[in-house]
């Protein structure tokens, strides 16, 4: 049965009919044309369909579209600035050659955006754990971790300065 789903997608409110059995991955791909959302397994194992829902990374292949009612969705298509500048995470993926076939890339970038968004500093080991829900068969993950380290560090420095202003509290 079709129901109307209202959600915010990449900053724009949309109201669309969806099949109540439909996954958010299918809704985003087939009804909204957001084909960066890739389907690699459809059971939540590979991470290729990851998007941010209210800022949190989810596998959309196992997320019913109707659960997104009233929520805010961010996909890779929504990352560029209005004037077309890349998000620092995207730029870091380019600079570190962290994309090969590119199929896992949008999902990983969305997890990276979530990670970077915390403003925290992470060790390489912590980053390994944080991206372990994503499978990549091409890169061996090293270049992806390099990209993450680079952008996490940049962000920490930026946010860290602002954060440190009120007092001497550490950010470790």
């Amino acid at each position: 049965m079709f129901k109307t789903l209202t959600m915010t997608v990449n900053g724009r409110e949309v109201s669309i009919p969806v099949d109540e059995r439909e996954s958010l991955a299918d809704t985003l791909r087939n009804r909204l044309g957001l084909t960066s959302v890739k389907k690699g397994c459809e059971v939540g194992e590979c991470g290729a369909c990851t998007v941010l829902i209210d800022g949190e990374a989810f596998d959309t292949c196992i997320y019913l579209s109707l659960w997104a009612e009233g929520r805010s969705i961010l996909t890779v298509e929504g990352l560029k600035s209005p004037t077309g500048e890349l998000n620092p995470v995207q730029q870091a993926f380019i600079d570190e050659a962290a994309t090969q076939c590119g199929f896992c890339t949008p999902g990983l970038i969305m997890s990276a955006v979530e990670i970077v968004g915390t403003g925290k500093r992470y060790s390489r080991e912590e980053l390994r754990k944080l991206i372990s829900g994503h499978l990549c068969r091409c890169t061996g993950y090293d270049s992806i971790l390099n990209a993450l380290e680079r952008v996490v560090e940049q962000t920490y420095k930026h946010v860290g300065h602002e954060g440190e202003a009120p007092g001497p509290a550490g950010h470790a």
Partner: protein, 771 residues
């Protein structure tokens, strides 16, 4: 600029912005959905179908069964066509098969208006079978009374066989050729694994007038076109194949998978748009896998480590259909003789047998990871028996400079194997670590291991090697570059761009490569396999670029009124050859050449390469492991690959190939294995139960290179795409041997296998009731 520069990937922007379109992303709305009906037995015959319930599902358009397809058998391997059909691939399957040879065989196809109807109807198709006992090992397949699975093509299940004996006499005679020889014998085996490219095989097909268009995720668009034509019995140019970006292939998409069936379905439905997308489970169970190869090997050496003779008998599990068939086992047997030299004789025998397992096909490095595991376990066990340092034993016997393979005539025009070992030895701290871990005790032990390999570049002279390239200069002085060779994630488009820029004398920003292949438009090529493209297709880029540059200089000569010999191009300019003085922007020249009222000329070039060369890449892996004996767990602490792949066109991308290959090798060594039950049904055909390495399962991956210029390569380069995945598994196995003293002779080194091995070796004394 040009080659040897780590420019950013030309497709990186598209890929990080989600703009890169893969097959499913291009699918027009309103496609009919095809779902393959799969056999629930591994060996038998379809007697009849009852389609009544399936046809009653609302939304079902039509159901085709194995009784509805043309009486045509075809071959699926992504090999060039062979004019002498008897010498080519084995034609042993139909669009849908009445005779079932694998669990999940394609026996019918449902076409419906949506996914749900198609899946529901496929489940409701009732099948009556005549069932036979499944044949689930090479041994059973080759037993004298075994039922032949393909009586139409082979009287027995022996699909292929190859042998050589190089040197003097036989191995058995060599035993008595001199006193004091040490012999090591062993049996080593590799498991069935799957490519697990992140994008499953996807295609859609429709008709334009009387021609069939197939858009598909493939490594080999021109070969797919030919095989679709063959399978449907229509002229090949009645088929048009389009290949957009693909989400990895690793050899699985070097096979023609479901494109012929998809083409047939649209043809039967009046040209309506039909899509055929495989699930992950179908991909793992019903496409292709890496051949499991089991081998019996022997080596004879002098006490100082000089190899006198070796003998290999390899048995390869083909599964239900021929696909790439015996080519893989033949490759496996060939490397055994290339990597080391025996003073007296080397014998190799390979056998490939049909079984009722999943069909095995091409997978990254095409039989060589299997061969290397066998060869390098044997060498390690020999070093162990002789009490020699494993590196010294190998250096004493490995491929000499100027090596020529006696059977194929392939030259190692460059050979950096010794440099690789020396470089890795120092970087890794081999000698120090080897000594440090010489006497490990306790439950947690460490060790280091090593393995080396060699790998040819492309497929000449075993197969045809051709490539074509086309360039034309735009009015702004940039060049459009068209290749039939395919980008599959490895970075081919980027290195072709660099090669074109280098040859024509442009900056990379002024080379626009067309990434999509369309067989109506793209130059002919064989596709991405055999680590061939940078070498063979690189030759095509170079020759085409030289022709185009000649035309540019000719026009510049006319315009500047200077002899062409005094002119050159560099970084978007026509320059004076002597002194490099900038004379004329190529952009100005291109605009004038196109629109001049005195001499208007389209500046374009096209070249065809018939490559009659090959050369050999080498390299090695150093691994350091920690083994938790009671837990049966191996943790790889360090892993370093050193590669002799000639000049690196793009060092950063080269490093990425090595990292990805090591990671795949780690999975092969430790965690990946497709399992089957006694009925031949796959037990772990999904990414939860089949363990690919995640970021947590591996250390930082280390890559190093020895850049020798290979004189046969277009830019001094040779194979790199596949080799990184070859030697990690034996290096890890050998490291576990140093750590624990236990010889694990089959892959993967799973916890279960390790615990059993340690119990047997007495390293685990107390076994609890739950173990």
């Amino acid at each position: 600029m040009g080659v040897r520069d780590s420019i950013k990937r030309v497709d990186a922007y598209e890929k990080v912005t989600g703009a890169a379109k893969y097959t499913a992303d291009l699918m027009p709305a309103g496609a009919l959905v095809a779902k393959v009906v799969r056999s629930t037995i591994a060996n038998g015959k379809v007697v009849q179908f009852d389609l009544s319930e399936a046809l009653a599902v609302p939304g079902v358009v039509k159901i085709f069964t194995c009784f509805d397809v043309p009486d045509i058998e075809f071959a699926t391997a992504g090999h060039p066509y062979v004019l002498d059909k008897a010498k080519g691939d084995v034609y042993d399957r139909r669009l849908l098969n009445e005779r079932v040879r694998v669990y999940g065989d394609d026996i019918a196809a449902v076409v419906a208006v949506d996914e749900v109807a198609a899946a529901r109807a496929a489940r409701l198709v009732k099948v009556e079978y005549e069932e036979y006992a499944p044949i689930l090992s090479v041994e059973a397949a080759l037993a004298p009374d075994a039922m032949p699975l393909h009586p139409g093509v082979r009287d027995t299940n022996l699909l292929g066989q190859s042998s050589y004996r190089i040197g003097e006499g036989t191995y058995e005679e060599a035993k008595h050729s001199e006193p004091g020889l040490v012999e090591v014998t062993g049996e080593y085996g590799t498991q069935t694994v799957q490519h697990c490219h992140m994008e499953t095989p996807q295609s859609y097909a429709y008709m334009e007038n009387d021609r069939i268009v197939v858009v598909t995720s493939t490594q080999i668009p021109h070969i797919v076109r030919r095989v679709v034509g063959q399978a449907l019995g229509i002229p090949w140019a009645r088929v048009r194949v389009i290949k957009p970006y693909i989400g990895g292939g690793f050899g699985n998409k070097q096979d023609v998978l479901y494109e012929p069936l998809n083409a047939f379905l649209t043809q039967q439905l009046g040209g309506r748009l039909v899509k055929l997308e495989l699930t992950r489970e179908e991909t793992m169970a019903c496409t292709r896998v890496r051949h499991a190869i089991h081998a019996k090997v022997k080596a004879l050496a002098r006490p100082d480590g000089t190899l006198i003779a070796r003998k290999l008998e390899a048995y390869s599990d083909q599964g239900g259909y021929a696909s790439h068939g015996h080519s893989i086992c033949a490759n496996c047997v060939t490397m055994f003789k290339q990597l080391y030299h025996d003073q007296r004789v080397t014998e190799g025998d390979g056998y490939t047998a049909y079984t009722n397992h999943a069909t095995a096909g091409a997978m990254r490095a095409y039989g060589i990871p299997q061969s290397d595991f066998i060869t390098e376990c044997l060498m390690e066990d020999l070093a162990d028996k002789l009490g020699m340092d494993p590196l010294e034993l190998r250096l004493k016997n490995c491929m000499p400079q100027g090596y020529v393979d006696p059977s194929t005539g392939i030259h190692a025009y460059s050979n950096g194997i010794r440099e690789c070992v020396a470089k890795g030895r120092a970087l890794f701290g081999w000698d120090e670590k080897r000594a440090r871990y010489a006497h490990e005790t306790g439950d947690i032990r460490r060790g280091v291991g090593f393995a080396m390999f060699d790998y040819k570049t492309g497929v000449y002279p075993i197969s045809l090697e051709v490539s074509n390239c086309r360039m034309f200069m735009n009015e702004d002085g940039s060049v459009s570059l068209q290749m039939g060779a395919t980008e599959i994630g490895q970075g081919a488009d980027t290195v072709f761009t660099q090669m074109a820029a280098e040859t024509v004398g442009l900056t990379e920003g002024n080379v626009h490569i067309v990434s999509t292949q369309d067989t109506d438009v793209s130059p002919f090529d064989l596709g991405a396999y055999g680590s061939r493209q940078t070498y063979v297709c690189g030759m095509a880029v170079k020759r085409t670029g030289e022709i185009l540059k000649g035309k540019v200089l000719d026009y510049a000569s006319y315009k500047l009124k200077k002899p062409a010999e005094e002119l050159d191009t560099e970084a978007d300019w026509v320059v004076r050859r002597a002194g490099r003085e900038k004379l004329l922007p190529i952009a100005d020249l291109a605009l004038e050449a196109q629109y001049s009222r005195d001499r208007a000329e389209r500046l374009f070039a096209e070249a065809s390469i018939d490559c009659h060369e090959n050369t050999i890449s080498t390299g090695c892996t150093f691994a350091e492991v920690e083994v938790d004996i009671p837990m049966g767990r191996v943790t790889v602490l360090r892993i370093l690959n050193v590669h002799d792949s000639g000049i690196l066109i793009n060092p950063k991308l080269a490093e990425g190939q090595v990292h990805g290959g090591i990671s795949m090798g780690l999975g092969y060594a430790l965690s990946e294995e497709l399992l089957y039950d006694e009925k031949g049904r796959p037990r772990n055909d999904n990414l939860l139960d089949y363990k690919l390495p995640t970021a947590m399962d591996q250390p930082d991956l280390e890559a190093a290179f020895v850049e020798l210029c290979d004189p046969s390569g277009p830019f001094g380069n040779k194979a790199l795409g596949e080799p990184p995945t070859i030697s990690p598994a034996p290096a890890i196995r050998n490291a576990v041997l140093q750590a624990t003293g236990v010889h694990f002779n089959t892959l993967p080194l799973s916890p279960q296998k390790l615990v059993e091995g340690f119990v047997q070796a007495g390293l685990i004394k107390e076994v609890g009731p739950n173990v």
